[in-house]
Assembly symmetry: C2
Homo-oligomer: 130 residues x 2
């Protein structure tokens, strides 16, 4: 059972006080993790209702790993826990924005960069630029 | 025919110079639009291969509207065109980050706020906070 309501209409969805996420067919919403202090986008991931509820309850980012098909407490093994300082939702409530402070070594990406978005399109190719 | 290659292996996907987006089953990748000057997250949308190719070619953000099932040049009717100053891709190339300068009135959200993420979770409810 999802702990979240469904918005009864467009106005409630867009302007309401109720967090009524529009989970997709797989039961997921997109989540953007942005560094609370620098504004840098760290990663993009997905949340199911449990991940979102746990994030709100604990103040630590939880996601849903689509590759492992399992709840994913970010940083549980890497130490890169994400303390959530603010949670926002977008107009049609199918995307969540987390402002976070990464713990451990301060990184977020499994490849070893601080942010997953470490490659810039530059004159026809991708260039690594942290 | 997609104008983009498929990465031959994990290393090419994660560290390669080739933009090889991993479009989902619907042929889409997620795109985050971040204000180039303020770092504010403006919106989250989707791109198909044509939208991504046009964005790279023109330097103006193009998306794919899932509700209209059509290519969407953001701002074509509202004037809120997004000039792209930088395009990044994430480690596994299923998400794109655009740094943009919104034109027109400087906004990005159809509800009338500058950013689509105008609601903050605050003590058990959503509060509008621009």
């Amino acid at each position: 059972m999802t702990p979240f309501p469904t918005a009864p209409d467009k106005h409630a969805l867009e302007r309401g006080e109720a967090l009524a996420p529009r989970f997709n067919g797989d039961g997921l919403v997109v989540a953007i993790a942005q560094h609370a202090d620098t504004g840098e986008i760290l990663m993009l991931a997905w949340m199911n209702d449990t991940a979102l509820a746990l994030t709100l309850e604990t103040g630590v980012a939880h996601y849903f790993s689509r590759s492992r098909n399992a709840l994913w407490k970010k940083g549980e093994t890497s130490g890169q826990l994400q303390i959530v300082t603010e949670l926002r939702v977008d107009c049609d409530q199918d995307a969540v924005l987390l402002k976070v402070r990464p713990q451990g070594d301060g990184g977020a990406c499994h490849v070893g960069f601080r942010s997953c978005f470490y490659r810039v399109w530059d004159d026809g190719r991708l260039v690594e630029r942290d």
